[in-house]
């Protein structure tokens, strides 16, 4: 017998307050990141899951319990859904102390138990000593941790995090990432996290949902989506700048390979898709220039326009010989000595290049 799906199932379609069309699921204990640029509809989707916004059509279920069903006119309020929610600016109650803030989320418990539970969670996020301070007396990272403790102390059925790390400095963000990873073993519900930071999604999320203009562009496991974006927009969302167009020269469907022309270069790539001869296809190239690769069967000659030091890397602006699309690459400084001339040879394996 097949066990029923345990987690969140969301299938919604709405045009108010903005257009959103989304269908995805998230298992208990897993983190799904909603990744997209500002205005993609991530926060609106999160508020729909929270019950703060009612969509026009669709269904939302959690562990076989229906939270929203447009056909049955069923819409549970946020209070009925028992969720944990960390808004972008934390939504702390400024007139209450850190402890009182956490207790505010515990009205489902008997009064006698609330204080101890709140204390436990403040200790778990390392803020036991700050429990009597009010939010304005705390730093951004501490406020974020109180908001997280308040959401988690409820032992919610669904945890929603709306860009929870965007309002803190990079150093604090790293600490908070580690804190969430540490707490992950104690979270047994689905976690939906809105972010526009690909590295954050890569670090924390099991699944990735890419959103653009209210629609889901691509979804899958984080590694799968990051390694194989299915469109140019998806590639750009994932921070891949180097998308160039090539022309299909021939295709061998028995071997599932396609011969392409990229600038003045021709080479063969693995490609399961059926292409037309002469078709323009997008090629996703790596961001790293590795001129020391040996055993690489593909050699692409680059015109180097300029390069400059950026942190520990050299940033290189280049184009492929015979193509005008600008590429942004980075390289270790010692490799750059070999590219002092205006041209460099970029050695790649066929799996380094993804046809979109």
């Amino acid at each position: 017998m097949v066990e029923p799906f345990q987690g969140l199932v969301c299938q919604i379609n709405t045009t108010t307050p903005i257009f959103i069309e989304a269908e995805f699921d998230c298992r208990n204990g897993e983190i799904t990141a909603l990744l997209g640029v500002s205005g993609a509809g991530k926060t609106t989707l999160l508020k729909i899951l929270a019950g703060l916004i009612k969509p026009q059509q669709g269904e939302i279920h959690l562990n076989q319990r229906t939270w929203f069903n447009s056909q049955c006119h069923l819409h549970l309020t946020p209070q009925q859904r028992h969720i944990g929610y960390v808004p972008q600016h934390f939504g702390l109650f400024e007139h209450q102390t850190a402890l009182e803030n956490v207790i505010s989320g515990l009205n489902h418990l008997p009064k006698a138990e609330r204080h101890a539970r709140a204390n436990d969670w403040l200790e778990m996020v390392g803020l036991a000593t700050e429990q009597h301070k009010r939010p304005p007396q705390l730093s951004g990272g501490q406020r974020q941790r109180i908001a997280l403790a308040r959401a988690l102390a409820r032992e919610p059925d669904l945890l929603l995090l709306d860009e929870p790390f965007s309002a803190v400095d990079p150093q604090t963000r790293k600490q908070l990432h580690l804190q969430l990873l540490k707490l992950k073993s104690r979270i047994h519900c689905p976690v939906i996290m809105v972010t526009h930071n690909m590295r954050e999604a890569q670090l924390l999320a099991d699944h990735l949902v890419l959103m653009n203009n209210g629609r889901i562009l691509q979804q899958g496991t984080t590694d799968e989506v990051i390694s194989q974006p299915n469109s140019i927009t998806a590639a750009h969302l994932l921070g891949n700048q180097n998308v160039v167009y090539a022309k299909v020269i021939s295709q061998d469907q028995s071997k599932q390979t396609t011969q392409i022309q990229l600038g003045s270069h021709q080479f063969c790539l693995p490609d399961p898709q059926v292409r037309h001869i002469g078709e323009r296809v997008g090629c996703l190239l790596p961001n790293e220039l590795n001129v020391l690769s040996n055993s690489a069967p593909i050699a692409i000659t680059l015109d180097i326009h300029c390069h400059y030091q950026d942190g520990q890397y050299r940033q290189i602006m280049a184009t492929i010989v015979g193509d005008h699309t600008p590429l942004t690459l980075h390289s270790m400084p010692e490799l750059l000595r070999k590219t002092e001339s205006s041209q460099a040879v970029w050695l790649l394996t066929p799996t380094d290049i993804t046809l979109l």
């Binding site: 929270a50 808004p87 600016h89 939504g91």
Partner: protein, 222 residues
């Protein structure tokens, strides 16, 4: 010094403030958090007493609630007493005239509550009343305090509307402002001076107290 007029003014101020403040909290919250057709008209109507001459408001109240009007006759039957030239008329007039003074500061304070805070309250399981009582009212408290002080002081100094609807009946509708006017008419400048000084000291003290309290609330939070 007309102590009776002073007590009547204080009684009118207290009753008006006690009735108007809770109503204003609920109406201000509804106006701050909801969008509906005709909202601009409702807000404009609530602000009208600010720009309309008090005598004009007094005239309409006198005509509207007078014994010749249907409304006035109905209210007299229900309450057993006429509204005009009676203390209840003063309360009604004070309530209407002071709507903008009570509503505006509270509505602005509600509007200043970030959406994140209200969303978090709902997701913490707090229902509307719990959210209002435990989260929103403590946050809008400086606005409520400002509304109370403005309302109380404004009723204490109200003249035009009170005179129009209440007349000048000692112990019933003769407030401190009207008593001052009476004394000046009678060339009793000493009595008028004492009563004016009391109103002045009261106004300065309440404003100083509100400013101090608002700052204290700000310091405690920040």
């Amino acid at each position: 010094m007309d102590w009776q007029a002073l007590l009547l003014s204080i009684k009118l101020s207290v009753i008006t403030t006690l009735i108007l403040t809770p109503i204003s909290i609920l109406v201000a919250r509804a106006l701050a958090f909801n969008q509906f057709r005709g909202k601009a008209w409702v807000e404009a109507l609530a602000m009208t007493p600010l720009i309309l001459p008090p005598t004009v408001i007094g005239y309409y109240l006198l005509v509207g609630f007078g014994q010749q009007s249907w409304l006035g006759q109905t209210l007299q039957t229900v309450l057993g007493t006429p509204i005009v030239f009676h203390f209840s008329g003063l309360v009604l007039a004070s309530l209407l005239v002071n709507i903008p003074f009570a509503l505006q500061p509270i509505q602005r304070a509600f509007e200043a509550i970030p959406d994140d805070v209200r969303d978090a309250a709902a997701c913490c399981g707090l229902n509307r009343w719990q959210s209002l009582w435990k989260v929103e009212i403590p946050l809008v408290w400086p606005g409520v305090l400002t509304a109370i002080v403005l309302c109380f002081s404004h009723v204490l100094g109200e003249f035009g509307v009170v005179l129009m609807i209440g007349g000048n009946i000692a112990g019933e509708t003769k407030t401190l402002s009207i008593a001052i006017y009476d004394k000046v008419q009678a060339f009793d400048f000493d009595a008028a001076g004492i009563m004016s000084l009391i109103l002045l000291i009261f106004a300065v003290c309440t404003l100083a107290f509100t400013t101090h309290l608002t700052k204290k609330i700000g310091v405690n939070r920040g």
